[in-house]
């Protein structure tokens, strides 16, 4: 460590050894201890440091910390989730309302329309019987080892029961 280098350190980093380059600190302190000229230079640097330390900066407002934390990724996701929870049902309701509003209203059933339907003279039962369809299994009757459950005549008309254990309806 030379006096020139020590002066350069004091000029650049000031009087506090904590700010000096770590690798040169011990040597600089040793030179400072034995050099009156270096101490005068050190004192001048300390006066400037003291003036610089008079500079105060306001503590950041609590509102700033709150704003910063509101911008974290998870906080943003939560805000979106809350927004969706509120807006999605409203949007669905609005869409349903619009769909209903846009559907054509049913035409009124006029006398002419009723006449156009004609007259049905055939009973519906007869129509079904003639097709031979609509056969259902009677409970238990197709299972020989379980036996046939007698549901009684009150449950169905025996005339509709067939040999295969099925019944017309």
């Amino acid at each position: 460590m030379t006096p020139t280098r020590l002066h350069a350190i004091l000029d650049a980093y000031g009087a506090d050894p904590a700010r000096w380059p770590a690798v040169e600190r011990d040597a600089a302190l040793a030179l400072l201890a034995r050099s009156p000229e270096a101490r005068r230079h050190h004192d001048a640097a300390a006066r400037l440091d003291a003036a610089l330390d008079a500079s105060a900066i306001d503590v950041p407002s609590p509102a700033l910390a709150a704003r910063v934390l509101r911008a974290t990724p998870r906080a943003r996701v939560r805000r979106v989730e809350r927004w969706v929870a509120v807006v999605a049902p409203l949007a669905a309701a609005a869409a349903l309302f619009l769909w209903i509003g846009r559907s054509p209203a049913p035409a009124p059933l006029t006398a002419d329309a009723i006449a156009a339907l004609g007259t049905f003279s055939t009973p519906t039962d007869t129509l079904l019987f003639s097709t031979g369809s609509d056969l259902v299994d009677l409970p238990g009757c197709s299972e020989g080892d379980l036996g046939c459950i007698d549901l009684g005549s009150g449950w169905t008309d025996e005339s509709t029961r067939r040999d295969d254990g099925r019944m017309r309806v």
């Binding site: 350069a8 000029d11 650049a12 980093y13 000031g14 700010r19 380059p21 770590a22 004192d43 001048a44 640097a45 300390a46 006066r47 400037l48 440091d49 003291a50 003036a51 610089l52 330390d53 008079a54 500079s55 105060a56 900066i57 306001d58 503590v59 950041p60 407002s61 700033l64 910390a65 704003r67 910063v68 934390l69 911008a71 974290t72 990724p73 998870r74 906080a75 996701v77």
Partner: protein, 181 residues
């Protein structure tokens, strides 16, 4: 024991709100102070700090501990400050900081608070690179290698900026420095 920044960053990447809060408590004040001294404006400083942390949250998953988090935050803050300083240069002159009256007879009467205001004004009047070097090393407490990394300059260049800046400040604040000692 205080949790390391690197550990907190891994938790931030997983969406841990407590880790986010810990980083804000640890670094927000320092970044605001750095931006305030660099820009000379508290409102702009808060805007810069908010943007710095927004970038931190955005890049948390990609962040790798190649440098200390504090150094990385200062680097981001510095870039944002330099953008604002560049925009000010394009703005009309009346938007620039008020020139400081260097009359020693007036300065010697100032109390410490007033001295602080004057120091801030003198810092603001320095060339940006000199001001940034002093703010990083004197106020932010960064080691010379960290400050040089933030500024993307060599350590020799950093020392030159520091020495020139301090020499200018000493000349302008000679009376205040003698009074404060």
């Amino acid at each position: 024991m205080e949790e390391a920044d690197e550990t907190l960053m891994r938790r931030v990447a997983r969406g841990d709100q407590e880790a986010c809060r810990a980083l804000v408590e640890r670094h927000l004040g320092r970044i605001v102070a750095f931006a305030a001294r660099t820009l000379g404006n508290a409102t702009d400083a808060e805007d810069v700090a908010q943007e710095v942390f927004l970038r931190l949250w955005t890049n948390a998953r990609r962040w790798e501990p190649r440098a200390r988090l504090g150094t990385w935050l200062h680097r981001i803050a510095l870039n944002l400050c330099l953008d604002r300083i560049a925009r000010r240069r394009e703005a009309p002159l009346d938007a620039a900081p008020e020139p400081v009256d260097p009359t020693p007879s007036v300065v010697t009467l100032l109390e410490r608070a007033a001295l602080g205001q004057r120091v801030n004004a003198e810092l603001a009047a320095l060339p940006p690179q000199q001001r940034i070097a002093i703010v990083l090393c004197h106020y932010q407490g960064l080691r010379n290698i960290e400050a040089a990394e933030v500024m993307d300059v060599s350590i020799e260049a950093l020392e030159s900026l520091l020495a020139r800046g301090r020499r200018t400040l000493r000349a302008r604040l000679r009376a205040e420095a003698e009074g404060a000692a």
